[in-house]
Symmetry: C2
Subunit: 197 residues, 2 copies
């Protein structure tokens, strides 16, 4: 049933983190998933993240009958048409750029489409949802948001602290997203602090 519904729809999984391999991609096809945001950086630094992308490039080659890389929205429609699942590479943290704004443009060119501004704890950009205090977006973070806007990388606010989230929403000139969340009505959890009322 859901497969039928999925076959007629554009269905994008907001976030998948996994030991990605062919079996995972086969399951994506079974579910008629149009596209997915697949994590390729959580705590990794610049070089480690580049090496993760190298591994992804091989996954794209070895599983070209099941998946294709998404660089633009057009690529999502193309994947749908070709009966493949489009992979949007994404990050759950900003560690991959270290302290270099300029790296964002290179990562965008390599296919990074979405970056979460913090992952539970504090980083150079802002504060995660598990921290005791959240001072909001840093000045470096404001430059990061502006550059993500410019090159076309979506700001993800999942796992981000409430003040930092609000600051990103106000600073961003483009729509932002919560790619994955836990509604407080279902379970009280630090991430629910991010809910803006």
């Amino acid at each position: 049933m859901s497969t039928d519904l999925h076959s007629k729809s554009i269905v994008i999984d907001g976030l998948i983190i996994s030991d990605f391999n062919r079996a995972v991609f086969e399951d994506m096809r079974k579910g008629n998933l149009t596209a997915a945001n697949c994590t390729c950086c959580v705590w990794e630094n610049f070089t480690e993240t580049m090496r993760n992308i190298v591994r992804w490039k091989k996954l794209f080659r070895d599983n070209a009958d099941l998946i294709s890389q998404v660089y633009s929205t057009g690529d999502i429609l193309k994947a749908k048409k070709e009966g493949k699942t489009g992979i949007i590479l994404g990050w759950q943290n900003v560690t991959g750029i270290e302290d270099q704004i300029g790296y964002l443009e290179l990562f965008k060119e390599l296919g990074i489409g979405i970056i979460q501004m913090a992952y539970n704890t504090q980083n150079m950009v802002g504060t995660g949802c598990y921290e005791t205090n959240d001072g909001g977006l840093s000045d470096f973070g404001r430059e990061v948001v502006a550059e993500m806007n410019r090159v076309g990388i979506l700001c993800d606010l999942s796992h981000v602290g409430p003040k930092t989230s609000e600051d990103v929403i106000l600073a961003s000139k483009k729509p932002v997203t919560y790619s994955h969340c836990l509604p407080s009505g279902l379970k009280q959890h630090p991430a629910t602090k991010a809910t803006l009322n």
Copy 2:
């Protein structure tokens, strides 16, 4: 006169190394240069080379009326049509990939179109033209040539030792190039050792 001839022709400068800035690009336009191989790695490691590419991305943005980045031969024709000089980013050494074959694919995607296999001295791939001995292409070097063939990066043999040059010519499944050279008839020079008779 030469400007007239250039305006009717496809003229590619095989190698330029410079403190690249707007004045250099203006001169390229004055000469009606269609495209140029511009060096962005000589001794730099992976991270330093990536930072050089970041600087180039800004040069492309800031001088978009004069230059455009070349990723494919089509981009050279496009630059010609638009009255700009197409910039082919290239390396004069392989230090930018350190010991990682997989980095070549990422650099190709960022626009690296040509790599010189060695710069005067020995590296992990082979030997430069100033060395006393030249043992030829290393096993790692053979993998580098194969991967450059696969992703579409041209092997440059300028500054490369004679035995390494010969090995690359025999190993490469695609044409190779001497982007710049010094004919021995004009001046005796170590690089002329690379001349194959």
